[in-house]
Symmetry: C2
Subunit: 324 residues, 2 copies
């Protein structure tokens, strides 16, 4: 059995050996730059661990794992352009360091490179892996589009929001595990349970991100809490509050959402006091726990020995331990 750290090392080593042409530099330098930013390699690690759940030889899952990581990086490159983000992992984003055109085109090339690695998946599983990957990739695009649409939509429901984060974030985690399982030749049933585990952990993780933005501690969270409140971001917390609040509390929420010029700290404080009045923290924690429990139950359904599941249980805990 391999550990999470083993997986990350395998991925980083393989990516460090990524061979790209020298020319045109403006196409390939941005890809080199993004790949060298590293990051946590969560998704490719899940591919390897999904494989390792069923098989002791994980080499066959390395190419699809790299494909998933390159795909994820491609989405970050294009999302950063669309969201006009200047920084990613504390470094300038591609379209800031180079320009938007280079960001678009090197992102495209990154997606194609992802397919290059995917094409070198185990041959027996190739058609199924391609199908899962293509479906997932489209769904991630759908999630990003819904996310952009919701910025200017007045009436986003909690259900809309949950569907959006499922598409944008959770399904890629699910499919990473599933592709790993297929690479190992697992049964469809096992692969599906494993994917459910990943999907539910993914949703729990995203909801926790929303929670930490409001109730997190700076040192643990790595950024100033309250950004989502200040920017009126439609998170699980705000949408839940808007569905629940009545009278004075609803007025307070609407007042602060409608303010164009405001004192940031004052807005954050006032919105949090409404959240507190409605018990939003506990509601969110309960929701996170229910998705987490669903995940664990799905993992229990996978018919392999308990001991083989240990690394994935550790992974799930690691994903969530910021709230502990």
């Amino acid at each position: 059995m391999v550990t999470i750290k083993d997986c990350q090392e395998i991925i980083n080593k393989k990516l460090a050996g990524l061979s790209l042409p020298e020319q045109p530099v403006n196409l390939y330098d941005p890809i080199r730059y993004v790949v060298e930013l590293e990051g946590k390699r969560i998704r490719p690690t899940l591919v390897l661990m999904g494989c390792n759940l069923f098989s002791d030889s994980i080499e066959k899952a390395v190419n699809p794992a790299i494909a998933i990581e390159l795909f994820h990086n491609f989405t970050l490159m294009h999302d950063d352009i669309m969201d006009q983000s200047d920084l990613r992992r504390n470094k300038p984003t591609i379209h800031k360091k180079w320009n938007v055109n280079i960001g678009i085109l090197s992102g495209d090339a990154m997606l194609i490179k992802a397919y290059e690695f995917l094409a070198h998946s185990p041959l027996a599983g190739l058609p199924q892996i391609l199908e899962v990957f293509n479906k997932t990739a489209l769904e991630v695009c759908e999630g990003q589009q819904f996310d952009m649409d919701y910025e200017s939509t007045a009436s986003v429901t909690l259900q809309d929001y949950l569907q959006m984060i499922e598409l944008k974030t959770a399904i890629l985690l699910a499919s990473s595990l599933k592709i790993g399982a297929i690479s190992a030749g697992s049964s469809e049933k096992n692969a599906a349970y494993l994917a459910d585990f990943g999907r539910n952990i993914g949703i729990a993780f995203q909801l926790q991100d929303d929670l930490l933005d409001v109730y997190g501690i700076l040192e643990q969270f790595g950024k100033q809490p309250g950004n989502d409140i200040a920017s009126n971001k439609k998170t699980f917390l705000l949408l839940t509050a808007l569905e629940m609040a009545r009278g004075e509390m609803l007025n307070t929420l609407k007042y602060w959402i409608g303010q164009k010029n405001f004192n940031r700290d004052e807005k954050v404080r006032n919105v949090i006091s409404v959240f507190d009045g409605l018990g939003i923290k506990e509601i969110t924690e309960n929701k996170i726990n229910s998705f987490y429990d669903l995940a664990i139950k799905s993992l229990e359904m996978v018919s392999v020995s308990k001991s083989r599941k240990q690394p994935l249980l550790q992974f799930a805990e690691m994903m969530m331990n910021r709230r502990k």
Copy 2:
């Protein structure tokens, strides 16, 4: 044997039946819009004809043909953003009709849709088809990057230019034929000769486009001649002229290239007179003919009966007949 028109009809019918989700509309409406613009369907027709050269059943090449057409449309969507083009086939481009973000994301989704169809290529040829497609797709990105780079590069050589149009345009024609051939189960040797035919026709076609911009007749060319001259576009004609011109002729070229404010017709007239003095029209025609001849020779090398090659010969003539 199928005709060019048969192929176009098969492609249009298949694309008309393209099933896309309703939601999110901002992701899928642009794809529907682009697909409905139709166009000449040159590349997917080449896939079907490449298959038909070796096999009487071309249904097996329909999915990869659609993949190639969707890929081509994806490149147009993103190129139009990068080149800030407002019109495509006389209709507003996606980023004009919607916005840049929607252009980026629906382009991404279109590329993924292309891979969805590609994954349904004949299973026996799938790994090889994926390899050809991925390599080609990256080369098309390289061509687009070189094209953008050359806009601000002072010293672009003729060789640079020929390499760029090969990457940006010719290789996709070559690979369309090759993927068709692989779908039919042709030998590697035959597929390679066929690809050479497509590559040389592609280069000849692009050079002819350069020629027609200067020496074309409005009705035949569909746009006002002289646009490339007015915009200092580094075409085969201009680069050849810059390599050949000396003394007064070189000064005239450099003068008009350097002018910021100018009378369009005067600039076009003066540059053409230098071209005429250097015999650029004939040089370009000779170059086109030499690539065309190379193409025909490559097609002759494919070991199938002459009669099977007739549709492809017709296709080559159709691609070039604007100069006749």
